[in-house]
């Protein structure tokens, strides 16, 4: 796939596959990031995939721009050369308690879309969402491919504090707030799973390219999982795709 290398000073470049969001560019970015991670070249310190690009931060005293360019070209040209055994895509099953105090905007979404709240939930869990990018907040996954009938504009006045684990809808995307933060997405539920723990390695469960599947739990199940998470006995159901 064609790409452009954009200069971000002497210590970073952005490999841009497209200026707009498109699925081929996203896939190319995820693939390039995975290969570069596996190559583990000396001097590359950050590999940040997004919807359409990969930004690389590097130490120019350890790896030259020329070497970097060559490395990028060979990764893009031979996408399968680096066998992705260790880097297989994973699917995470995330329990969510929808509606009620955990999902204060579920009713609004139901009214807006002319659906029963249960139908909104059914549509939200009906699809598997690829993680296109993680960012803006630690561990915040940008998930695409949501059923367009439950899309909704962001709040005009963002909430000052959204609790950790909140599942929201912003435009055509859905996502999870891993830490408490201000935010403008419409909240439809909450997960008791700890998506981010600074003392865990890696600190965030998933990376861009992985997949998320939501499933509904009752408030009682939510409390049980929450207790297990606190006790350190809960493991998120994960499988290789």
């Amino acid at each position: 796939m064609r790409y452009k290398i954009l200069t971000c000073g002497e210590g970073a470049v952005t490999v841009e596959f497209s200026r707009k969001i498109n699925s081929r560019a996203g896939a190319a970015a995820i693939s390039l990031a995975g290969q570069l991670r596996q190559q583990n070249a000396a001097g590359i310190c950050e590999i940040i995939p997004t919807y359409r690009s990969v930004t690389l931060c590097y130490d120019p005293l350890k790896i030259s721009y020329k070497e970097l360019k060559r490395l990028i070209a060979s990764c893009v040209r031979h996408p399968r050369a680096a066998a992705q055994d260790e880097e297989s895509v994973r699917r995470f099953y995330i329990p969510v308690c929808y509606g009620g105090p955990f999902g204060p905007d579920l009713e609004y979404l139901a009214q807006r879309s002319g659906l029963d709240p249960r139908e909104v939930v059914r549509r939200h869990i009906s699809r598997e969402y690829p993680i296109n990018m993680i960012g803006f907040l630690p561990g915040f996954p940008y998930l695409s491919g949501m059923d367009a009938s439950i899309a909704a504009p962001r709040l005009e006045n963002p909430r000052e504090k959204i609790p950790a684990g909140s599942v929201g809808i912003g435009g055509n995307q859905t996502g999870i707030y891993p830490i408490a933060s201000p935010g403008g997405w419409r909240l439809i539920g909450r997960t008791p799973v700890r998506l981010y723990d600074p003392h865990r390695d890696p600190p965030v469960l998933y990376r861009a390219g992985d997949r998320i599947r939501f499933y509904p739990v009752s408030e009682q199940e939510y409390r049980e999982i929450e207790a297990a998470v606190s006790a350190g006995t809960y493991a998120v159901r994960t499988e290789a795709v």
Partner: protein, 316 residues
């Protein structure tokens, strides 16, 4: 084990090393000392690794008590400092007795002072770094800025070298030249817009912090819509939001963002940038990758030379 107690933290003091590297893909900022050169130099003077944890003291007004005898060094902004009332010079390794009090006045030039102690501050390593990330509340001392009464432990190690000193980077103020390389989105601006950016004078505004330095000045004319689909943000990127007022993104910047970035400040000029305060003015000077690399190499050589000289002195 060495310890110090904070008596006055000043406006903002945090524990920082050279940053939390390798987690931007999970959404974590790098954090770390904004003036990487001054922090490295302070550590070298105390015979620490350059990446040891130091205190980043914003604008001064700081004091602490040494609960044990420790060597320390101050680098960065110009301040009047005194140990039990006796003036201590910056850029020098000084031995503090147990019980002595270090007082740092408000900086008369520059913005950030770095206090290194021999051994380095002993705070937990979180994701490979001791840097404080205030937004996530992790790293450093309990994930927060320091308060009066906090007691910080210090690792054994480092050392005191009598008369160890180093010439510091000059603190610039007034109208300061800052070199920047065009890109990654310089093509979103018109030729005249780029000329405006590289010839205009921009003033540092009070809304600046460790995340970004907000400037006010002539708005560079855009050729395209400057809201872009988010991409990664490198250290020193100068983003131009819709209003046209540049923001230089620093250590605590968010990992991705959706504004066009007209240019990127070179790593070698981040230390002088880190020392600017509200009211100071910037003129961006266009440079290229090759020159930027030469500047960085020279600064690294200077640090290596100072390190070697200190080692040689110990052997005598």
């Amino acid at each position: 084990m060495g310890r110090i107690q904070i008596e006055s933290p000043g406006p903002l003091t945090t524990v920082q090393d050279l940053g939390r590297i390798g987690y931007m893909d999970s959404g974590f900022p790098q954090s770390g000392a904004v003036d990487w050169y001054a922090a490295s130099l302070a550590n070298i003077l105390c015979k620490n690794e350059e990446n040891s944890a130091v205190l980043e003291i914003t604008l001064g007004g700081f004091s602490c008590r040494f609960l044990s005898s420790l060597a320390f060094a101050l680098c960065g902004a110009h301040v009047q400092a005194a140990l039990d009332g006796v003036p201590v010079p910056a850029g020098r390794c000084v031995l503090a007795d147990a019980g002595s009090v270090l007082q740092i006045g408000m900086a008369d030039a520059g913005c950030r002072i770095y206090l290194a102690v021999s051994g380095g501050f002993d705070v937990p390593l979180i994701m490979g770094s001791r840097s404080t990330d205030l937004r996530c509340g992790i790293g450093g001392f309990a994930g927060r800025s320091l308060r009066r009464g906090d007691v910080l432990s210090v690792f054994p190690g480092g050392g005191f070298t009598r008369d160890a000193f180093a010439t510091q980077e000059k603190i610039l103020c007034g109208e300061v030249p800052i070199r920047a390389i065009p890109g990654p989105q310089d093509d979103y601006f018109t030729r005249a817009g780029l000329r405006t950016f590289f010839s205009g004078v921009y003033t540092v505004t009070p809304a600046s912090d460790r995340m970004g330095m907000k400037l006010s000045g002539p708005a560079p004319a855009a050729a395209l819509e400057t809201d872009i689909v988010s991409d990664g943000i490198a250290l020193g990127s100068v983003q131009i939001p819709a209003g046209g007022q540049p923001i230089i993104l620093l250590a605590d910047r968010q990992t991705v963002g959706g504004y066009a970035k007209i240019a990127t400040v070179i790593k070698g000029d981040l230390p002088r940038l880190a020392q600017l305060r509200p009211g100071d003015r910037i003129r961006f000077i266009k440079t290229n990758r090759k020159s930027a690399l030469a500047v960085l190499q020279e600064m690294q050589n200077t640090l290596a030379d100072i390190k070697r000289q200190l080692q040689k002195r110990d052997q005598v």
